[in-house]
């Protein structure tokens, strides 16, 4: 066990701990997981798997085209789906006007393997609703399979590694699969869709314009002698000036143009020049709890929501969004990219204040307040060893002095439906949610929330007026 954590635990314990809370802390304390990336299935493992490959297909998944002729079961590519997305959204809007609920879902995130292939792709999808039987009541393990071959009853015939008891092998964040993100352009599309479809609020221009390192080029500068475009009016004025000085123009009522001299230097041109572009820009801090208790759905939810928020901001700020990623357990650390942020495995204990402190430090050290609209989104399951927020609240207060918005998402565990996670409790107690409701928002959801609920949450976190 990490001695530092132990020390922390003892300190907390001294201050008195409700037994339930103590149990949670102990659980995280004794968890021997680490924060490394979820491992990719190595070749060795794949060979081992070769012998045992359970097909989870049911009988209806077989078809002649594929199984007999090996014609791949083609799906329309995501690009073709995207092409018509405007039309689909238009249709969806019309549905609402006609009094029917919307039917298009977007924002399915696809994240294939490492090596530049990773993308966040927007796929419009829908489902045809009918009265059908719900088979999900049968737990995964109980769902019967067919099998053939040797083996006594009760004999184990194969094993499939699971990375975490909560998550089926490697589909979620923190559980592997994923790659360096090449998501910018598609995330932008997603942001556009989110804004239009879900009527996420457009940001108001805060009037806080800062120069960027980006320039536009324009024919604004004047130059004598050469250039791209002759500025006739200015040139004429110059010629007149020169000739007045030369004494060629004495009587204003009697101008003799034949006596005028035109010096090459009189020619005034417009010349292409670099202009600084002024636009508001955003700095977004994504903060994620990756402590042991976050294993499973909580992490998936939080990260999915953060991707959506990121996309929305990307669109709002016309790509001028800079992001910082911070992970925390009892200590906070900044990670360089979304990939690491997304895929780091959970482990360790929980102290929210550590992350808030780090954000504050970064903002102060880099003097970000001057240049940026700052957004901070924090996702957690609501556990905090710092039970009453003695350390977190002051840090949070400081954050609220400069941030445009702080959004806290709490993905509650299904097994304690108390609406009473530590973070939620102390946030409510602090009164900040009321006092600074323009700046601070909290969204509490169950860990089994679906996409519409996520979007609803985002609306709440980022809307101008409290919903």
């Amino acid at each position: 066990m990490n001695p530092k954590l132990k020390e922390l635990y003892n300190k907390i314990k001294k201050n008195g701990l409700p037994p339930e809370q103590e149990q949670k802390i102990l659980l995280e304390l004794h968890d021997d997981a680490t924060h490394d990336f979820a491992d990719e299935p190595s070749d060795a493992l794949q060979i081992a798997d070769e012998a045992f490959r359970p097909t989870s297909q049911n009988i209806y998944a077989y078809n002649d085209l594929f199984d007999l002729q090996a014609i791949s079961a083609l799906q329309s590519s995501h690009n073709t789906s995207l092409r018509s997305i405007d039309e689909l959204l238009e249709r969806d809007k019309q549905r609402e006007k006609d009094g029917f609920p919307r039917k298009i879902n977007v924002g399915r995130l696809i994240k294939p393997g490492r090596g530049g292939k990773d993308k966040v792709v927007v796929v419009p999808s829908t489902v045809e609703e009918k009265f059908i039987h719900d088979t999900s009541l049968q737990a995964e393990e109980e769902q019967p399979y067919g099998g053939s071959g040797d083996g006594e009853e009760g004999e184990v015939i194969g094993e499939q590694p699971v990375r975490s008891p909560d998550v089926q092998g490697g589909t979620g964040p923190g559980q592997g699969e994923g790659g360096p993100h090449e998501m910018e352009s598609n995330a932008y599309d997603l942001g556009k869709i989110l804004t239009e479809k879900f009527e996420l609020p457009n940001l108001k221009d805060k009037g806080k314009k800062r120069s960027l390192t980006r320039y536009t080029y324009d024919l604004t500068d004047k130059h004598r002698g050469f250039g791209q475009l002759l500025d006739k009016k200015a040139t004429l004025r110059k010629i007149v000036e020169t000739n007045m000085n030369l004494g060629n123009l004495t009587d204003i009522s009697d101008i003799d143009l034949t006596r005028f001299l035109v010096s090459p230097k009189d020619l005034v041109y417009r010349i292409l020049s670099r202009e600084k572009d002024y636009e508001s820009q955003a700095m977004v801090f994504f903060v994620r709890d990756y402590s042991g208790s976050m294993a499973g759905k909580s992490t998936v939810l939080v990260v999915a929501q953060h991707v959506l928020i990121y996309s929305w901001l990307l669109y709002q700020y016309a790509m001028q969004v800079e992001t910082r990623f911070i992970l925390h357990d009892t200590e906070a650390t900044e990670v360089p990219d979304f990939y690491t942020y997304y895929n780091s495995k959970v482990a360790g204990g929980t102290q929210v204040s550590s992350a808030y402190r780090l954000v504050n430090e970064i903002v102060e050290k880099e003097n970000l307040v001057r240049d940026y609209n700052i957004y901070i989104f924090h996702g957690t399951d609501g556990d905090d060893w710092d039970t009453d927020g003695k350390e977190s609240i002051p840090q949070l207060k400081q954050m609220l002095t400069y941030a445009n918005r702080v959004g806290i998402t709490i993905a509650e565990h299904a097994h304690d439906k108390t609406n009473n996670s530590e973070v939620e409790k102390y946030l409510k107690k602090s009164g900040l949610l009321e006092e600074k409701k323009d700046l601070l928002r909290m969204d509490v959801m169950q860990e089994d929330a679906d996409e519409p609920r996520l979007i609803e949450g985002i609306k709440h976190l980022i809307s101008e007026k409290e919903t």
């Binding site: 045992f52 009988i59 829908t126 609703e129 009918k130 009541l137 019967p144 099998g147 009853e153």
Partner: protein
């Protein structure tokens, strides 16, 4: 799409000849097309029917994870479709020997489509032709009514899995009416037995009396027979008339009922919706038998492509190629279910047993294991027997009747269980049961089975529609209820109610927090989940859904 070239078509015709000789029966004409990936892109959303009506959902990625096959009774990647002539689709670079194999497979499918009685209602017309005219009709309406056409399609599709497929079949296969009157049938078959519950000797007495009446008064015999009954049971006439009404309405499925009785659709301005709903219903009916015969149909096709290919003299030298491809398609997976493999083996098994005369009383009377094993009456009827099965069975009957312990033993089949091994952090797959009973149950549980929902007219009041879900220990998918009912309400034009069952609570062992160091890791205890159900009534009124609990079960 292009037709296959003459050379390949000739191969196909050769296959047809050989398949016919082996006993397969199918229409002479068939159409074979080469499909490219591009074609498939357009065809698959239309379930391989090139002329199916357009609908925007076909252009969108449809979320398939949840109950894919429960939602759609058809396979979007079928190689051959049940049309007249039958149309099949091919890769353009299949080698000849492979085409031979696929052609046999396809021909067996066509034979199945055209001879299995569950397809009876698709025999008398060409679906592609019908679909084309429907598609044009819908397109024309769309140009007039715009998006409202799509709403109607959507709402009708919302209930198209509840079509009265079996009722439709029973209408098709009904025996010609007997000369006896309905009243007589009712009196003897229903009234005396179910209403009056008379004793057998009284029943026989009535039959005797009837025969006597007929003998005495010939044509007027029935009248004189009933004259006495009206005296004896004054209520008989009323009950009989009521039963006639009831019977005629019972036969309607939800879509038909809405078409027939909806005040909304009766309105002049809405009458254009009816043909669209009709099209949706017909399309669904067309696909129903496909999903109900998946194992049989694929098994039948695999059986024949193997048998006929090996006899085909044209492909000598390609036996190894064939063996490789064929075993890829029809090998039994270690874990998983393959309809090709399972269906084919079951057919071989049945043929073998029938050849030996094991489907006989004589065999059944045998108790001695050795004698049972060695029993061989050498009937030579196996081939005929499987043809009979192909004509009269569907997946349910096929499995329920013929999967027995000998079959399970012969092919070393078993039910796989899965459990989590906490210590090793692996999912363990283990042999759960080798009992035929369990294996059969596992297969049957996986078969397509839409919920059974009927219309309760005596509970419908003030023009509302009352739907009764006959609960079979599987609740409906909750998220889908609202929009489905919204659609029904729209088409019905008045409130709709649905009575169904859902989970009240699940009592599972609470997730216990393990505290390593303090205790040893808690062993996974297998606890049966206790599910308590409650009967609820959903009501959709003015596009708003409400729910009330009407009964709850406490165990």
């Amino acid at each position: 799409m292009e037709l296959i070239d003459q050379h390949t078509k000739k191969i196909m015709e050769g296959c047809k000849e050989r398949a016919r000789k082996a006993g397969l029966r199918f229409q002479d004409e068939s159409l074979e097309y080469i499909v490219t990936n591009r074609d498939l892109l357009e065809l698959t959303p239309k379930l391989m029917i090139p002329t199916l009506y357009d609908y925007w959902v076909h252009d969108v990625e449809v979320l398939k994870e949840k109950g894919r096959y429960e939602l759609y009774p058809s396979n979007p990647y079928e190689t051959v479709i049940n049309t007249r002539p039958a149309i099949s689709f091919y890769n353009d670079n299949n080698p000849d020997w492979m085409n031979v194999m696929i052609f046999y497979h396809v021909l067996a499918h066509i034979d199945f489509f055209q001879n299995n009685l569950y397809f009876r209602h698709t025999w008398d017309y060409d679906f592609t032709g019908q679909a084309l005219s429907d598609k044009r009709m819908i397109a024309k309406l769309r140009s007039e009514k715009g998006r409202w056409v799509d709403y109607v399609v959507e709402f009708a599709r919302g209930i198209d899995n509840l079509v009265g497929y079996h009722e439709e079949l029973s209408r098709q296969n009904r025996r010609p009416k007997t000369s006896r009157s309905k009243m007589l049938d009712y009196y003897f078959d229903v009234f005396l037995q179910s209403e009056k519950k008379v004793k057998i000797h009284e029943y026989i007495k009535e039959i005797e009396r009837y025969n006597q009446c007929i003998n005495e008064s010939k044509e007027l015999g029935e009248k004189s027979f009933f004259a006495e009954i009206f005296k004896k049971y004054p209520e008989f006439d009323a009950i009989f008339k009521k039963s006639l009404e009831k019977k005629s309405e019972q036969k309607l499925d939800l879509i038909q009922f809405v078409l027939e009785h909806s005040e909304f659709l009766k309105k002049e301005k809405n009458s254009w919706m009816k043909p669209i709903i009709e099209v949706v219903r017909k399309t669904s009916l067309f696909f129903q038998p496909q999903i109900r015969t998946k194992i049989m149909n694929e098994g039948w096709a695999s059986y024949w492509h193997e048998r006929l290919f090996l006899q085909d003299d044209r492909i000598q030298g390609h036996e190894v190629d064939f063996a490789r491809t064929h075993s890829g398609v029809t090998s039994m997976p270690r874990v998983g279910l393959n309809p090709y493999a399972l269906g084919m083996r079951l057919l071989y098994y049945i043929e073998d047993l029938s050849d030996k005369g094991k489907y006989s009383i004589e065999f059944r009377k045998l108790l001695d294991a050795k004698k049972r094993e060695d029993f061989d009456a050498n009937t030579g009827q196996g081939n005929d027997f499987i043809f009979k099965i192909r004509e009269n069975s569907n997946d349910f009957m096929f499995i329920n009747t013929f999967v027995d312990q000998d079959f399970v033993n012969r092919y070393k089949l078993f039910v796989v269980g899965r459990r989590l091994n906490q210590a090793k952090r692996v999912l363990e797959y283990y042999v759960k049961s080798r009992k035929a009973e369990d294996y059969r149950r596992m297969l049957l549980d996986g078969l397509y089975h839409p919920p059974y929902i009927t219309i309760e007219q005596n509970k419908s009041n003030n023009g509302s529609l009352y739907l009764m879900h006959h609960f079979e220990d599987k609740p409906l998918v909750k998220e889908f209820i609202s929009n489905t009912m919204l659609g029904i309400e729209y088409l019905w034009g008045a409130p709709v109610q649905l009575e169904t069952s859902e989970v009240k609570q699940i009592e599972a062992s609470k997730p216990q927090l393990t505290i390593p160091g303090l205790t040893t890791p808690i062993k996974e205890e297998k606890k049966e989940k206790q599910i308590k159900w409650q009967r609820v009534r959903y009501k959709m009124k003015d596009r708003k859904l409400s729910k009330e609990i009407i009964a709850s079960e406490d165990r």
